[in-house]
């Protein structure tokens, strides 16, 4: 592992994109940054602008309006970028997969690097998913 990928692994900045979600996964992602499962000790920070982000966390289903916005955000991010789909809705559409506004799970819109299933996934599961992503 070279110096560049070592530095990349040690300092991942996260941007959160919530689709049309029920917000439970949002709360569980927020839990990862609280003092109980502190993620800043691995260098992971939540950033406000997509241009500073290294990891794009997507949860919630993607409906027709969000599809254009998600592709726009994916194009705005500086590469290399890792995408993580969180929750059952992000991975496959969950219980909303038959609705008329559903425009495909996340990997139909943008390429995904890791999936974290669960409804909602526990913070430990989200952390395990990110560790597997980083060690890939």
């Amino acid at each position: 592992m070279g110096f560049k990928s070592y530095c990349f692994k040690k300092s991942l900045w996260v941007f959160h994109f919530g689709g049309a979600s029920c917000n439970n996964c949002d709360i569980e992602i927020l839990d990862c940054l609280t003092p109980r499962h502190d993620l800043e000790r691995f260098g992971i920070l939540l950033v406000g602008s997509i241009r500073h982000a290294d990891v794009l966390l997507v949860n919630g289903i993607i409906n027709h309006h969000d599809k254009e916005r998600l592709t726009e955000i994916y194009n705005q991010a500086p590469k290399p970028l890792l995408v993580v789909a969180i929750g059952a809705c992000g991975c496959t559409g969950g219980i909303f997969a038959d609705s008329i506004t559903f425009a495909g799970p996340v990997d139909k819109v943008i390429p995904v690097d890791a999936y974290v299933p669960g409804c909602p996934p526990k913070p430990e599961a989200i952390i395990a998913g990110i560790v597997k992503l980083v060690n890939k």
Binding site: F3, E40, R41, S49, R51, P78
Partner: protein, 310 residues
């Protein structure tokens, strides 16, 4: 000529100030984490951030707005901060004695990073960046006068001497200026001015995170953002050093005094971090009235006390 290049690039210039600023930035993040009952990042985290931004991420130029100004602004800010740092640290470390009037040159050079942030944000072509830029402009208008009053108070106190080296020598011969009532008042005002200059909470409305999604730096990515981070690390080192030189008696580098010098810097950074962690972000209107009315009042009271000899 070679000695000047060495001072500018290696010690106490770009390399030394950057590395020390990185460690002080780690100290700030670790204290923040401990105050919030969590562990913080590892020791080399600011350097991992800097090298990731510099080497790994690509730089995206904005479509609207001017790309050349956008890219040049962080370079100006790094070199402005380094030049100010060299002029501050050379008298502090007893390497040279500076020149007459170098305190005013330092004050002038310390405004360059803030101006280049504004220029860069207005060249971004993004309305949120323009909002951040206008807030930074208003903030500069309010705290610069107060900072100048603090410097004027210190100059009056040591008998009209305009260079940093003789201010430090006056304090080391007698007692540090903070030991007097006016010194305490000037110290309080100067801490708030440093907090505003570093754009830390409660004065971080130009780069408000959740409100205008990182305001003035919203379009920066990759190597140009790495330079901005480097500027912030350097400023976190040189502004407390300037305060230590003006009011706390400077550094003395023999024997046990090395420990006191390090503790002075760490103490000021600790104070800045604790103020950062216990306060909410205030609105720009409140910040302007805070500096123009209250802090100027305290600084003027301190100058009047100096004129009477306290």
């Amino acid at each position: 000529m070679a000695a000047d290049l060495f001072y500018f690039l290696v010690f106490p210039g770009l390399l030394f100030a950057g590395i020390t600023g990185g460690f002080l930035s780690w100290f700030d993040r670790k204290v923040t984490a401990r105050v919030q009952f969590r562990k913080g990042p590892p020791l080399l985290q600011p350097f991992y951030d800097f090298f990731k931004l510099l080497l790994v991420k690509e730089t995206i130029l904005p479509k609207h707005g001017s790309p050349i100004t956008f890219l040049i602004a962080p370079v100006f800010s790094v070199f402005g901060a380094t030049t100010a740092g060299v002029f501050i640290l050379l008298p502090l470390f007893n390497i040279t004695t500076g020149f007459r009037g170098d305190l005013l040159v330092i004050f002038y050079l310390l405004t360059i990073p803030s101006f280049s942030y504004i220029i860069g944000s207005l060249a971004s072509g993004n309305p949120l960046a323009a909002v951040g830029g206008s807030r930074e402009m208003k903030l500069i208008l309010s705290y610069e006068l107060t900072f100048l009053l603090v410097i004027a108070g210190v100059i009056m106190k040591c008998g009209q001497q305009f260079n940093l080296y003789s201010i430090i020598q006056t304090q080391q011969a007698a007692s540090p200026f903070i030991g007097s009532v006016s010194g305490v008042l000037l110290f309080i005002v100067a801490i708030f001015c440093i907090q505003a200059k570093l754009a830390l909470v409660p004065f971080d409305m130009p780069e408000a995170e959740a409100e205008i999604t990182e305001g003035i730096f919203i379009e920066y990515s990759g190597a140009s953002y790495a330079f901005i981070k480097l500027t912030k690390y350097i400023m976190l080192f040189i502004l407390p050093s300037l305060l230590a030189g003006l009011l706390l008696g400077g550094f003395r580098l023999d024997g046990i005094h090395i420990l006191w010098s390090i503790l002075k810097i760490l103490g000021i950074v600790l104070l800045i971090t604790l103020i950062r962690n216990t306060n909410p972000r205030i609105r720009i209107r409140q910040a302007v009235s805070f500096f123009l009315i209250w802090m100027n009042l305290i600084a003027v009271i301190a100058i009047v006390l100096i004129a009477f000899g306290y």
